[in-house]
Amino acid sequence: MSSQISSPEITHAPEHAPGTSRIWRTFWVLSLLTIIELGLGYFLYFQHGHLSYAFTLSTKLLIAALTLAKAYYIVSIFMHLGDEIRNMIMTIIVPLMLFIWFIAAFLLDGNSWKNLRNTDAGSRPNKTEQHH
């Protein structure tokens, strides 16, 4: 084994691969995901005005999903979290689940504000065009 233990109470050291192939493979995965994101970004740019609101939103959600995939590779491989023991992984991942509520609640709140303003709190129909 090539790695060293930093202090006596640590008995576990993840096996570090002798080569760097896993690092470079992750680099290519991250690059590929970024290129796909850019491709979708350019698709939205060149098709701007020709796509339905729902289709544009779905494409943006797909780009966000690719970003989450990139985050997974960075955290798991580059930051070696995937090599730690399961309880350690859980103390990091479980609190971050709060973001699911955080993002949903606040973006819906922003959207609700827009609708309330556009309709004078529901007292008139919404005639504002959707700009995105």
Binding site: S6, I10, F27, I63, I74, I103, G110, T128
Partner: protein, 244 residues
Amino acid sequence: MSTTISTNTKWWNGGRSPFNISYGKVMMWYFLMSDAFTFGAFLISYGTIRFSVNHWADPNHVFNAFPLAGHANLPLVFVSLMTFILIFSSVTMVLAVHEGHKMNRKGVEKYMVLTILGGLAFLGCQAWEWTHMITGDHAVLVNGQIEYWGTTVTRNPWGVEVMHNGAMVATPGPIAFGGYFFGITGFHGFHVFSGVIINVTMLIKTRLGHFDQRGHYEMIEKAGLYWHFVDLVWVFVFLCFYLV
């Protein structure tokens, strides 16, 4: 598994690290988790405001310049360069950690230098981008007059376009745009800057042989965690400000 773990170990009774990971690494992880919530709160706040207005600046129009390319319309190109610089400096960082596991001082030094250069290149790109944003003038219709505005925390020349004297001209947009853009990319840039300072410190300590004396290169791993986190945040900043 390079080391077997005794089945009788009482993990939570003291004398052992509960997660079998050094105190420093656990605390770095918890710091990064709290930092993730800070960045997350900023980005979600930005998203909330953006969802609450009818019109927001189109990033493909705002970020379409490239150094020395004049007025060529190049959406996403410069920010893609910045993204690849940061991904690549993440790779050199993880290679430095890898060399540290092998106790190879020369290898650690080489990859730390490359990582620092990547960080400085990113900061240079961001300085150019900010300068371009603040000083680049755009025609805006204000009180019936055409004015030329840069993008700052108080001025947003990227509002709804209206017809004026037979041509389309922009009106002022929500001023929150500049505040969020400079606030969040600035907070991220400050993390990159402090990351470069940490990495320079680690390079000096490596050259002085401190880690060889200590018998392990764990400090490089902890600096690496911070550096990868900076890259991780950029992935989300890239998504929220430039791609969607």
